[in-house]
């Protein structure tokens, strides 16, 4: 295996949005916005953290057994939708007082329905989407059914029912929403988008079914947990691949590479390609709000990279594994969380630790989302 430090990205990302444009839009929005960090811990509590002070504001008890800790904030930042009860139910909280304003249960006595990570909110906040994976519970066997996108009206409040459903692929996890086209992003074997009014599906980026020759490339292995990128309106998803520079399987000549698929959730513009040599594992990439060529990753390390140059700029060793990473929209602080019960706060410039937020339980697979509330 060759881990080349002089890697040159084959298909560069980040040309669509200039750093200047990001900086300009960010500054006007920041002045009037309060940002709250949202995450869920075992046994089952939603935590609301003030990012000005990095102090815990309140903890809301979530009904049901811990699920995946999935959190989707409403576009106005006031409601946090939490996936709970063994990945089956969604409960919406007013984050200012923990009042439950929305609930839905997907399973029935005859049909078990799990949503694997997949939950998203429309850009106007009126609809909530899940991908349902139904299994009919017969007396002597289970029967898997066609997965479907389920659409809920958030205004329906308690015990809401789907208003529309559409068939979708298996193995869909991370969802997003494209404002310009009113489509739900379906992160699965390939990245697709579905019109939530008509059910029409189009492919955005091929991964599992990409067109490259197996003589030259290994099909990408995409990791699609945790919704990342809302701090600047992105849907970002890493993948891993191997480029065979010799015969397939010749590890001496092979290059192990990180790639990513990045979608502007406002316009739907997508870029996808290899960006960095695979030197260590990260669970997700996160784009710097002030320079779209700079990304951060977290796992056993917190790392900073320039994807235009294909270089790792800094690596900071972490005291334990973290699954999840997020940052403020002005780029002033990075939050690293998931797994255990502490969120580690870091300076994006130096990657040094500048704070810690202690929680009452383990985050496990929970999301760590930013809710932006206009003052």
């Amino acid at each position: 295996m060759k881990l080349s430090k002089s890697f040159k990205p084959a298909r560069l990302l980040g040309t669509a949005m200039t750093s200047l444009a990001l900086l300009g839009t960010g500054l006007s929005a920041q002045a009037a916005t309060d940002e709250y960090l949202l995450t869920v811990t075992r046994p089952n509590q939603l935590h609301v953290i003030d990012t000005k002070t990095d102090k815990l504001l309140r903890s809301c008890d979530v009904p049901g057994t811990f699920g995946n800790g999935g959190v989707a904030p409403s576009p106005d930042g006031k409601i946090a939708y939490v996936m709970t009860n063994k990945w089956e139910d969604v409960v919406g909280f007013d984050i200012s007082n923990c009042k439950i304003v929305f609930s839905m249960s997907q399973s029935t006595p005859k049909e078990q329905v799990k949503s694997i990570i997949s939950m998203a909110i429309s850009a106007d906040g009126k609809e909530l989407y899940t991908v349902q994976n139904p299994v009919t519970l017969h007396k002597d066997h289970f029967e898997t059914q066609q997965p479907r996108l389920a659409v809920y009206n958030t205004a329906d409040g308690m015990d809401a029912k789907p208003v529309r459903t559409f068939p979708v692929d298996r193995r869909i996890t991370k969802l997003g929403y494209i404002e310009a086209t009113n489509e739900v992003i379906l992160g699965g074997g390939d990245v697709k988008a579905i019109n939530a009014k008509t059910g029409k599906i189009r492919t955005l980026a091929k991964l599992q079914n990409w067109d490259r020759s197996p003589e030259g490339w290994v099909p990408p292995d995409a990791f699609q947990m945790h919704t990342i990128g809302e701090h600047i309106g992105e849907y970002i998803m890493p993948y891993f691949t191997i480029k065979w520079n010799g015969a397939p399987g010749d590890m001496e000549k092979a290059e192990f590479l990180w790639g990513m698929t990045r979608i502007d959730t406002k316009t739907g513009e997508l870029t996808s390609g290899e960006v960095l040599p695979f030197e260590f594992i990260v669970f997700n990439w996160l784009t710097d709000p002030n320079d779209s060529d700079i990304v951060y990753g977290a796992f056993n390390t917190l790392s900073k990279h320039n994807i235009k140059e294909g270089k790792t700029l800094k690596v900071h060793n972490m005291p334990h594994t973290y699954y999840n990473i997020n940052m403020l929209q002005d780029g002033s602080k990075i939050y690293v969380g998931g797994t255990s019960s502490d969120i580690s706060v870091h300076d994006p410039e130096t990657l040094e630790k500048i704070g810690s937020i202690q929680l009452s339980g383990d985050m496990s697979t929970s999301d760590m989302r930013i809710a932006k509330v206009q003052r």
Binding site: T173, F223, I281, T321, T339
Partner: protein
Amino acid sequence: MHMYLHEEVLKQMKHLKSFNKKAKMLDAAVSQGDVEEVVAMQSVVGCTSVNDPGWEVDPFGGLGSLCQPMESDLYGCADACWWPAQVPDTMSSHPNWSQDVAKADEDWRKIDAIFPESE
């Protein structure tokens, strides 16, 4: 590694006689080539569908890229049903497992093992 295991299983199946209805259906599917290829870790899909090496070795053949310590990863594997053979699956079969242990790294002594109910 996953493809090797898959082929080995298929090879062994040639020497076995199908006993019940489900085994006969699987046998027929194998002979018709209808059994889907195993796809390793293409995406997270819940119980038994993720074919991941486990905690034994990382992608580089070492240990440095495994989750550390394992207590930080324990609930992440149980809740996502990532390795249901190694960790009780809280998604379906054992939802109440260790619900009273909020912090695995501090209270790992309180975490119980799972035993078959008949024993």
